[in-house]
Amino acid sequence: MTIGAISVHDVSKKFRLERNRPSSLKEAILRIGKRRDTDDFWVLRDIDLEIEPGAFFGLIGHNGSGKSTLLRLMAGIHRPTTGEISSEGRLSALLELGSGFHPDLTGRENVYLNGAMLGLGRKQMAASMDTIIEFSGIGEFIDEPVKIYSSGMYVRLGFAVAVNVDPEILLVDEVIAVGDEEFQRRCMSHMNMLRAAGTTIVLVSHNTTLMADLCDTLGWLDHGRLVEIGDPDDVVASYLAMVDAPGDNTLTTHD
């Protein structure tokens, strides 16, 4: 595989919902032999997707349609139930608020920790530390434990780290929406810079205008299935047509 490519082949992901899950060893032992009250919930079904190196790929869809799960599978956090998913190159992900941050460590220590997770040593991280602090605009709070950070500060530092570790693949979920207008603009321009440098970017957002603007290709996930993939304007149009149409969009486990 070429560096920066992501290949999703026939991937399905099942989560098991367990009602009255035994919460202690005692309960678990007492329940042996009894039928477990479980429900299988297919979050993703038969996803086939090839993302080319250097592509800017967007994912849209309702809440609960499986966008975030697909990103998590790409990031290697979960294993797909069936099928195969692979990516090549240094992968940096900003998946949720404070993702990859340990609440008790200071901002600076967390930057080193994140670097270690991406395979970057202390020296390399120390070299980009000033850039990261500068980009995040966090200032002297960098030496405070991140648990006292506001949600805006979390996402600022998270984004600063994710984009300044020289990623070959960047996965970004909603989160940037938490930052203020000025920070969001900075994020967008920085992502454009990364794209120009050849980084593969996968972005999830509900902001269809933004997505149509930024992405080369857009995928639309509906109830765990990839229903349409192609030119951003076309996909947004059919997605909005579906949203406007009256219908039942309740989240269920029986899809």
Binding site: S24, A93, E96, G98, S99, H102, A116, M117
Partner: protein, 270 residues
Amino acid sequence: MPTLSPSVRKSVSLIYHFAERESKARYKRSILGWFWSFMNPLTTVLVYGFVFGVVYGAKAPATGNGNAENFGLYLFTGLIVWSVVTNVINGSMGWLVGVSDLRKKIYFPTETALLGGAVANAIQTLLEAVVLIGIMIVLTNISWTFVFLFAALIQAMLFGLGVGFIVSVFNARYRDVQYLIGILLNVSFFLVPIVYTQKLLDDNNVDGLIRVLLDWNPPALFVEIARDAMYFLEVPQWNRLLAATAWAGVTFSIGWVYFRDQSMAISEEP
């Protein structure tokens, strides 16, 4: 580190990170810091030495050079090995729980958290070993056999990690496991000749299956090897060395394979 592959390098820097964090976190906000790591074994040696040596009048066997019969030192040589086993097993469960939230949000090889904790533990144990060797030099009770102390410590570490890999996965599911293991370890303290001597077992005619269990369980083997090396100044019996190495190697391997197989599921625990 030019020859290491990227994934190995990543693991090494993570192990370094977790080891550093564990060492720092342990004595955070304490004035005396590392001093406390010596206080724990020291008070144990003093209290047990007083209770068993003075109150009950237990006699420690003579040391290798024949000029000391010190129950406190007899205890210390055993405790230093035993505490590696218990601290690594108990620690593993905490180390895994400590990173499980993080692991739900970002991918990294989870075993690095346990290996990092083990490295931090190894550094502390090394300091204790230096103290023990220093005392023995002062008492002129030292010989080249001290190298077997390190063999015993490495075996204890591998064994502790092997068990730790398994119980930490159980504990990620049911937190009861940590309490259960804590109790089991307290009980098994008396399966290991730390506060009693082999001679006491001989004198009381302890034999049969119980004696086999007492003589050949892994922590007892590690303790015996360390004591031969540091207290009696003898080369440990080859069959004990072999059995101890086998216990350590097999336990570590099983734990490692099991942990690697199960660690992806940890990110899906609610």
